[in-house]
């Protein structure tokens, strides 16, 4: 997989030079003159990282950071600063920067920082891939099975689910069997885990929790 290093700096000369150096590491480089420029031509792949000059006219700083977090949440953000004042660095890190580099940048530091950022990117991407796989499995469920899934992960017993959906306990058991087969899980606990990671149960009420983990279990 190709890794893209995105360099956003209004100084063309610096951008080019930095790009050349980064290319010698074997990465693909694309340069942008401003934050707006980058947002206008978002990359297809989120493999890589962004090197962003902290001081640019126009969109920059926290505003740009918010926009980037929405548009390319997986791309780690490394700030480039003229002089790394503590205040600027803290602000950047709080706002979600992965790292920052002080100009002029030594090759070794740059390499280290990029590597760290890419590792982070990879982790993020892996997590996302996993979720996407789970999402794909979930999308195989029929609407009826989906209803059953949502109720089961909330801790409803078969009898209760059957009552809720106005059908027989036996039918529910069959649905549950199919669901566990389609999702490739062996226990209800696994089902709950998936539901949680995909954001289907952001709110597990205490009584639900108690239903899953009765005393003595």
């Amino acid at each position: 997989m190709e890794l893209f290093i995105h360099i956003i700096d209004d100084d063309a000369s610096f951008r080019t030079a930095l790009g050349r150096l980064v290319e010698t590491y074997g990465f693909r480089v694309s340069g942008y003159q401003s934050g707006e420029d980058f947002l206008a031509q978002l990359p297809e792949s989120e493999a890589g990282c962004i090197l962003l000059d902290l001081r640019m006219p126009g969109l920059s700083g926290p505003e740009l950071q918010d926009r980037l977090a929405q548009a390319v949440p997986l791309l780690p953000l490394v700030f480039l600063t003229g002089q790394g004042t503590i205040a600027a660095s803290v602000q950047a890190m709080k706002a979600g920067a992965d790292d920052f580099l002080e100009k002029p940048i030594s090759s070794k530091t740059l390499r280290d920082v990029i590597d760290r950022a890419l590792a982070h990117n990879e982790t993020k991407r892996a997590g996302r891939d996993q979720l996407q796989a789970l999402q794909a499995k979930l999308s195989n469920l029929t609407p009826r099975e989906m209803q059953v899934f949502d109720l089961v992960v909330r801790g409803r017993r078969n009898k209760q689910v059957a009552y809720d959906l106005n059908t027989s306990e036996r039918t529910i058991k069959a649905h549950r069997h199919n669901i566990m087969e389609k999702l490739g899980v062996a226990s209800i606990a696994e089902m709950v885990s998936i539901a949680e990671r995909l954001g289907r149960v952001q709110w597990i009420r205490p009584e639900t929790r108690a239903a899953f983990f009765p005393k003595g279990q």
Binding site: T24, R55, S60, P104
Partner: protein, 627 residues
Amino acid sequence: MPFDAPVRSRRRAQNAVRFLVAILIAIFLDGGSAAAEVVGRSPRVLLLHPYDERLPASSIAGENARNRLIEATSGNVDLFSEFLDLSRFPEEAHIDRMARYMAEKYVDHRPDVVIALGESATRFIVNNREAIAPDAKIVFCGFGRDSASKLNLPADVVGAFSEFDIAKTLELAHALQPDAKHLFIIGGSAAFDRTWLDSARTDLAVASKDYATTYLEGLAIDEFVERAARFPPDSIVLFLTILADSTGRNFLPKDALAIVAAKASAPIYGPYDTYVGQGVVGGNSVTFESLGNAVAGLALDALAGKPITDIEVPQTFFADARQLKRWGLSESSLPAETALSFREPTLWEQHGDLVVGVIAVVALQGLIITGLLIERRRRFAAEGESRLRLLELVHMNQSATAGALSASIAHELNQPLGAIRSNAEAAEAILRGTAPDLNIIQQILTDIREDDERAGNIILRLRGLLKKRSEIDWQEFDLNEIVDSALNILHAEAAKKQVAVSAEQSGRRLPVRADKVHLQQVILNLATNAIDAMVEAATADRKLVLHTTLHGDTKVEMSISDTGRGIPKDRLNSIFDAFYTTKPTGTGLGLSIARAIVETYGGKIWADNRVGGGAVFRFVLPLAEAT
């Protein structure tokens, strides 16, 4: 014109022709008594002249006496004059004839007072008193006590004596020539001359010790002249009288004086004021005027019935202005009260009022001109001083600006430096690889050189920002040039504060005459203010616009506008005052310095608020002639 009136005492005999010397036998009758106050008619006064009317001595003295009498009595006096003509008719027969004639003439008009002018007139009236004026009081003048004692005058005959003192003449000479070393005294061979020389030896015994003293006597007139021509310049020469020289040749003393003085190589002084005009510088004597005045005083007292006694006629110093000038002697060294003759009336005396007026006008004019010149010099000095102060202030201001912008400038410097480093490291990496692409290396090297230049320029700008002026470096340049250089300096700061800077420049050249560094400072002051004024605005709205344009036909205008809060209306004017600041770290001098600079170059600066919000600062400068 002959003259001989005041006569030295001790004189005995005389060749009587021209001098007031005559030998008569004194006879006199009773001294009887005094004329008393005249009642019921005007008092009668007889003026008795010894010679004819042309003789200056008696005529001057007589005229003065006459005037004094008329003046004192307010004209209420009967004056009679008789001229005895004794020089031309010295014989006894003439004297008797005159006595008889006058006795008869005045039979019904007996004089109350007789004024005898000179020795021979005195002798005549004393001898013929009974016949001519038996009840009259006799007063006289024109000779000294020594002569008087030889006349054996009656006790009631009272005189105004004139004494000659040659030492006083020397005193005047000493005042004029304090450094003189030599003293020459000239006297003739006649008996009268020798008498004069004898008395001079006595009178000058003390004073002459201060000088190398020489008595020139017993010489022929030619010898006198020859000696006179060889007087050392630091000499004082006293001319007594030469009635006759050693060859027996006769002279009027003043004529002899004129001959000697013409050749003399040193100033000559003499004891007679009649010597004035003949080559004498000055001297001391009794003047005929004072003689007349004095004797008239005695006559008036006698008419008033007051007791009268002998008096001394005061002596006066006299001098000849032409001779003072000839010998280069100073008028101011003369003793006080010196009668100065032949003094050319000065311009002052002739046209005093006009001179006063002209001098006053000229002086006033001079005063005004001097005043103006002084004022001008002061102004120049003050201007120079204030200009120096301004230059110092501007430099302080430049330093402050450089300080404030230093962080931004350092950041800006990091761009080329960072690029150079990255490029170099990239090149190294490329060269380490197999089959390095030399085209890229070439490109990298070109970029490195360009970035190096860029870094150099930034440092150059910083130095320009700190450039100190000891005097204004006048140049003619395009205002747009300065806007560009200011933009370069501000670029980083504006980026840091996230302010978008734009310039709307006139397409035309806008030549102005000023110091580039100073105008750049004005723009920097206004622009940094503008940037600071926008910290509270949303980043997207922070806009700084620099605008230049032609203002009329003769001026250029520059405006700097921001999108900040603007300026409170009541502060629009005071904003340019020194120490006005809204920034906690500001000195409050930026705008006042900007104004001082703009005004130095003949411009004007003012502030305003924009319709859409924010402030705009404008200044105009004269357009330089050439385009």
